[in-house]
Assembly symmetry: C4
Homo-oligomer: 236 residues x 4
């Protein structure tokens, strides 16, 4: 496959994953974006900024280098969150695609500023333990380079807590919303869907039972590794 | 464009924006209305009262002068909330379109009689700070001219709190529901959609974290001015 | 119009109103039913028992006399709630159609055993004040004639509280769910839709503001009589 | 009918019931599965593991013997929850079909670790009393044979509490989610739908009225036996 063909295929995947966002009920209006990286090719493909999903076309996806500089002539402007994606791709080497949404229930937790506890196996099937909520960005960080520091605070959170991005493919950014990732654009979107659903469940759990605790480690292990890693036995 | 053509175009825009209300899930039955003003032309175009969205046609939109008097012969009756729209257009000179709904989550806050705190960046992207809830109308106001005083209490609330309608394009009327506005009918409707969503998020935030506070001013500034004003860099 | 034509027209209206129940999201599976009475003709038309909405046909609607005895040969069995409808038609002389559902939010309030307070104008637009919740049926009532006594307890509730069925076109039956009514099958269904929505709003209101009170009488009067009675000015 | 024809018919029923899961809003992505047993024929038919509903075909349903061993050549892998289904079919002799989902509201209760109280007649119409939540599985059970012990803990719960699977056609597995059953695949799915709805209602009931109690036994009896057993008079 030529470079051009590879980029065209990336555009198509990124386009389809972006369309999946409103189909899954994860975005309203133009909120949300999906990107994909190809490190060998040295390109990132991302949704253009503020374009309506119903009018968007595959060839409108924006192509940049690994630092986020636009490559193609006559390109639309990339999503304003691109610098966050760039930071995540540099720090998380196994991550191939990133999704950002303002999905209802994930944003609720992000705005509440709390880590999402692992209250059940629906969580454990996709995320290996608590999903962290970052600290608040400082005034200086917001003023200096807001989107870059949004990426930085995610990376720092993962480092400080010794978390593996492959095992916890998402994060809540304090006061803002979720970023999720995966090995393909659609997987990043699906992790966004799962995160939103378990955020909803967790919120309601606490109303049904105030003394609810997280599931035991052995059940978390069982469900996570039933679907992930070399001993997985879920799927075909 | 002739006056007639301008009015026909307004009718079409108002019609389409009204249809967007049930499509966005913001109204049930015949609840809700959208209008547009053209101050040079001296006309307001608004939805007819109590007409079903599924049967409504563009040429049924009602045309009035700037005081709300019907202009066209054989006109249907305008929305009973027209006098509120008239007051808003007189007081808020930059506002071109107004939407009123009974959307679920906005009404919840209006009925609860509380300002909507700015708990996150989804709020800050469209509304620059708290969204005010008006005081209760008095018995005299309700008896004398209910819809006019509904407009008056909105205008007073904005004056007393020194709020700029362009920066806070919506309000909660105590015990009633939301009014939003914008520079076009569809923008007014979108602000109604955003208001409903952030009302939902804020309600649930308080259940997840009882000690939740508003986002800091610098983050509010960053998100609002990323999308609005001369330094905006969101969109194409 | 002949009697046969009148009954055929009733069947069509009852059929369409029953179909509106799942379309409005008010019933799942076969839960819910709508009927219409013609007191001059001496007939009630009601949904057959346990028939799926997607397979139902207009001529399957069941025709009974005013006491609920089947009139037509080869008739399907009527909804098991028919005796409740019969009691309501005998007691509430202005009521032409009755709807029963297990819609989510109305059932929540019925199961919680509380009257629905009038927290806002969405409520006041359709229901003139609190919507009563009946007392629990006694063991004897349930054993003797459950569906008849369900009707009786509704009628008693309205008498004891001096409520006018035209002004409060619905009720919550303790531990069970809502019955609503109107001057046509579709109006009864619409009142069911409104009741469900204001039940949802009221529930959430109490979470947003624990000290919330009902709207003042003068606002209730204004909104109710803006839409109902000889001084109404809403609609065409 | 030949054995082959019987199995083809089972595959079709299991396929259609699996498709009903996303249609009813009970599953996202590939979560959830339905199976059917024919004890005379000695076969179980179940959904393949991790296959998308939108691409699934009837002949992809997996056929196993009564112990869960694959019978057909070139078969896909069965749902990873098959061992749970096998245990249930062995213990619950009248059960013909089993459904497992991660439906939102049922999972909330399962994660909260509480039995579902019978708060109303919507519950009583399908489930004769409280729906039990199992105990947590032990570390040993999870490590040894997770899916088998999931079935075992369900069976133990029913035995210890002296519950009849025909009368309570579902269970909440602690920290995980619901299993429901019935006399056909679609009935098992419908019980899953009902369980999810009454889980939602019960959760909200407790917010509306903290002192809510279960419905009295005589009302539970009335509604359950109105629809079930030899004195049933609901339906055609």
């Amino acid at each position: 496959m030529s470079c051009e063909e590879k980029i065209a295929a990336m555009k198509q995947r990124v386009f389809e994953a972006n369309l999946a966002l409103p189909q899954y009920g994860l975005v309203k209006l133009t909120w949300g974006n999906v990107s994909e990286v190809d490190r060998e090719l040295g390109v990132i493909v991302i949704k253009p900024s503020g374009v309506r999903y119903e009018r968007m076309q595959a060839d409108q996806m924006v192509v940049t280098d690994l630092s986020g500089n636009i490559i193609e002539e006559d390109s639309l402007k990339p999503s304003s969150d691109l610098p966050t994606h760039v930071v995540l791709y540099k720090a998380f080497e196994d991550v191939t695609a990133v999704t950002h949404t303002h999905s209802t229930h994930s944003v609720m937790w992000a705005q509440a500023g709390r880590d999402l506890p692992a209250y059940g196996t629906t969580h454990a099937d996709a995320f290996y333990g608590k999903i962290p909520c970052t600290r608040q960005l400082t005034k200086e960080e917001v003023k200096e380079a807001y989107e870059v520091h949004t990426g930085n605070v995610i990376v720092k959170t993962f480092k400080e807590r010794n978390l593996e991005p492959n095992e916890v493919p998402g994060v809540l950014v304090y006061g803002h919303g979720p970023f999720t990732w995966g090995h393909s654009p659609i997987e990043a979107v699906e992790n966004s869907l799962i995160l939103d659903e378990i955020c909803l469940m967790a919120k309601e759990n606490e109303l049904i039972n105030q003394n609810i605790g997280e599931i035991p480690q052995y059940l978390l292990d069982k469900h996570y590794f039933r679907k992930h890693g070399k001993h997985a036995y879920y799927g075909q």
